[in-house]
């Protein structure tokens, strides 16, 4: 019948994880129906579900494989299959969490993709929480929880900071890079095979020097594994696929040969004698080991055409670099938009000139022509016509002034972006503070695009946000011009819903600039723009 010993007494931690998992899974699946879930499902829900399912899955699996406490009558020991979960709970937790995360991550264009750093940090934290919580409930081992917390902070910081930076990269890197989130798990797995065990206490008989060296090497590997996805996302993704294929195949072979090894690990300070492994336990482990190996192998094989094969084809010169291809598409798009909007702008100017100033000049000419005829005989009427002509010329000037301001504001030409934004702020009907740090002039096209972007955003705030005050901040750092417009209005601005913000986004895209809007209902609205400049 059921080939494995069934655990009747689940640790309470496991129950919590299972319950939370169920809640999150329901929220994630039914997110359209639950407003709160819909808001959080994108950025938080998917990784949370992934991490929890991963950790809970770990617990279930290890409980199925063997319950050493039941077998050996001594608490504090784990039995694991080294090929699959070589370093104990964390590695497996990480692996499953990352695996499910990657599988559950919405593909491009379907809903908001979670930020990669959220995934990495969630996976690490969830795995570590599982280990720490489990150890704490069973044996006194606070030093492991402390160690885990420190490592989590370091890894989380590195991965979070780096991945946030990297997430600004282009789509091709992002799509292959998300597999690289699995790298820490793969490294731990391979490191376990090599005898580098960061998370467990050293086996009895291992000298302190060796234990510390192994710990240091394991930590270094993990740091590399956290940094690598950021610096070399595609190479890391390739490594993940190859690593999964290799270890999966290895585990399947071992399982098939009924040779899956059993490693007994201590958690915290074990009490009493080590367990005696019963006859038949090894067989059970081999069956599960082979199944899990097959799953890993399947994932690896599934990843191959998404990571290794395209990169190989690219390296062999059979296919263009996907990053470059995506860049070419993007440039073609933004160029077409730029050409279209320039043409539309020219048409608008032509129409304005034709209907406005040009018409008035014709009228002036006609008035003067008539005045010329009347001047000798009826000077009074001629004078009236001349006055009319003068007024028409003033009106034409005023129209031309407005038109010029819309084409290229003179103060922008004279003084550059900073002063032009200051002038814009002065002319607003609301109080507007400006913090501008622009020591040098920028390229004229960038200045113009940014000026009109700010003007549009500010106009939106004045017209739709019901704001009482505004703040504009402009700074240039590391070759990046960053502009932030904040208002204290009603919020709810959405670039996707036909406001001028979409136009601003397109305008900035021609310069590889980006626009981000944070506008919760009730405000405040923050519009941030970033444009690379020399």
């Amino acid at each position: 019948m059921w080939p494995f010993p069934v655990v009747t007494e689940l640790p309470w931690v496991l129950s919590v994880f299972v319950a939370l998992t169920a809640v999150c899974a329901v929220l994630a699946v039914r997110r359209e129906r639950v407003p709160l879930a819909a808001r959080w499902a994108g950025p938080v829900g998917w990784p949370l579900v992934a991490a929890l399912v991963g950790v809970a899955g770990y617990g279930e699996a290890s409980a199925l494989v063997v319950d050493v406490r039941a077998v050996g009558a001594s608490s504090g020991y784990w039995a694991t299959v080294p090929d699959l979960t070589p370093s104990g709970p964390l590695a497996f937790g990480l692996l499953l969490a990352g695996l499910l995360t990657a599988a559950l991550m919405p593909s491009a264009g379907q809903g908001p993709a979670p930020r990669p750093w959220v995934l990495a940090v969630t996976a690490v934290v969830a795995g570590e929480a599982m280990t720490g919580a489990y150890g704490a409930t069973h044996v006194e081992g606070p030093q492991y929880a402390l160690l885990g917390a420190v490592v989590v902070l370091v890894l989380g910081g590195v991965a979070g900071h780096g991945l946030a930076w990297w997430a600004r990269g282009d789509e091709a890197v992002r799509s292959s890079g998300r597999w690289a989130v699995l790298l820490p798990a793969v490294v731990v797995m391979v490191g376990g095979l090599a005898g580098l065990d960061l998370w467990g206490a050293p086996a009895p008989g291992v000298s302190a020097v060796h234990a510390v060296l192994g710990w240091a090497a394991g930590l270094a590997l993990l740091v590399v594994a956290a940094v690598a996805p950021v610096r070399w996302p595609r190479a890391a993704a390739d490594l993940v696929a190859l690593g999964l294929v290799a270890s999966g195949a290895y585990a399947v072979v071992e399982g098939a040969l009924n040779r899956s090894a059993v490693v007994l690990q201590r958690v915290g300070n074990p009490v009493g004698q080590g367990p005696v492994v019963q006859v038949g336990l090894g067989h059970n482990i081999s069956v599960v080991g082979a199944i899990q190996g097959a799953l890993l192998l399947a994932l690896g094989v599934w990843l191959l055409p998404r990571t290794v094969l395209p990169d190989a084809r690219r390296l062999l010169g059979q296919e263009p670099d996907p990053a470059l291809a995506a860049r070419v598409r993007e440039l073609a798009d933004t160029r077409a938009q730029a050409v279209n909007s320039a043409a539309a702008e020219l048409r608008r100017i032509e129409r304005d000139l034709h209907d406005g100033a040009q018409g008035r000049l014709v009228a002036i000419g006609m008035n003067l022509r008539v005045a010329e005829e009347l001047i000798a005989d009826r000077p009074d009427e001629a004078a009236a016509l001349v006055v009319e002509a003068r007024e028409a010329s003033a009106a034409a000037l005023s129209e031309l002034r407005c038109l010029v301001r819309g084409i290229y504001p003179p103060v922008l030409a004279d003084r550059g972006l900073g002063e032009a934004i200051r002038a814009l702020a002065l002319d607003l009907p609301l109080p507007c503070t400006t913090e501008i740090d622009l020591p040098e002039r920028l390229d004229a096209p960038v200045e113009s695009a940014c000026y009109f972007a700010v003007a549009e955003v500010v106009t939106n705030a004045v017209r739709h946000a019901d704001a009482r005050s505004l703040r504009i901040r402009v700074a240039r750092t590391d070759g990046l011009l960053r502009i932030e417009v904040t208002d204290d209005g009603v919020g709810g601005a959405d670039p996707a819903r036909g406001s001028g913000l979409a136009g601003v986004e397109r305008r900035l895209a021609s310069f590889d600039g980006i626009l981000a809007v944070s506008s919760p209902p009730g405000g405040p609205t923050i519009v941030a723009m970033e444009v690379p400049c020399r």
Binding site: R390, L397, V411, A413, R415, A423, L426, P431, C432, T433
Partner: protein, 226 residues
């Protein structure tokens, strides 16, 4: 009574407009001692002739940006109080602020359109040459717009409609008699309004026209954070 004609330097890079200005000024009895088409030429002419007034286009060669304004400000540093009347196709509050920064008076800032109305233009020239201050109505409108928002709007809101009109004309640099003529009221009424405005805005009262303009403009420009 024969008064010595005011000596004027003109800086304008468009030939037709420059010639037009020279002709207009000559026709109204001013002596144009130099007419130049670039900022360096303007600075040389101002330092050489030390005129009673300079009529300056903001945008001049060589860079065709705000060279005219900068040359005029440089000249005013060398010759304190040198009267400058800026002409431009557009008005910007930040240029008005820079022009008024030294609080010395003898400055004006007008749209080029105002040249058409030669009375207004000639009045402005005489006021500025006499050390007064003249601001284009477009500048004043914008200053009032800026001042009437936010926390300080309440102060302006306390003014009556008539007081607001008087304030606007005062900010443009007009004398009591000019304001009276414009609003068809007696000079005494204007003086009463102006006292009331100064009390409401909590400004020190001043009989001197120029000090009064500067005080009003400084008040309007004192927008926090602007």
């Amino acid at each position: 009574m024969q008064v010595a004609a005011l000596r004027v330097v003109v800086a304008e890079d468009l030939f037709l407009l420059r010639e037009g200005l020279v002709r207009l000024l000559a026709a109204r009895g001013f002596e144009v001692v130099a007419a130049t088409d670039s900022a360096p030429g303007l600075l040389d002419a101002l330092l050489e002739h030390r005129p009673d007034l300079a009529v300056v286009d903001i945008r001049l060669p060589p860079t065709h940006t705000d060279d005219g304004l900068r040359a005029a400000l440089t000249a005013r540093e060398r010759i304190p109080g040198l009267p400058i009347l800026l002409l431009s196709q557009y008005v910007e509050q930040i240029y008005a602020e820079e022009l008024l920064a030294d609080q010395a008076g003898g400055v004006g800032y007008l749209l080029k359109d105002r040249v058409f109305s030669d009375d207004q233009f000639v009045d402005a020239i005489r006021t500025v040459a006499a050390g007064g201050t003249v601001m284009d109505p477009a500048v004043v409108t914008r200053l009032l717009g800026r001042r009437s928002r936010g926390g300080n709007g309440e102060t302006l809101a306390r003014l009556t409609e008539r007081e607001r009109q008087v304030l606007e004309l005062m900010a443009e640099g007009r004398s009591n008699s000019a304001i009276a003529g414009r609003l068809f009221v007696s000079e005494k009424a204007v003086s009463k309004h102006s006292t009331s405005i100064f009390t409401k805005l909590d400004l020190p009262p001043s009989e001197d026209d120029n000090r009064r303009v500067l005080a009003v403009l400084a008040y309007l420009m004192a927008q926090p954070g602007g």
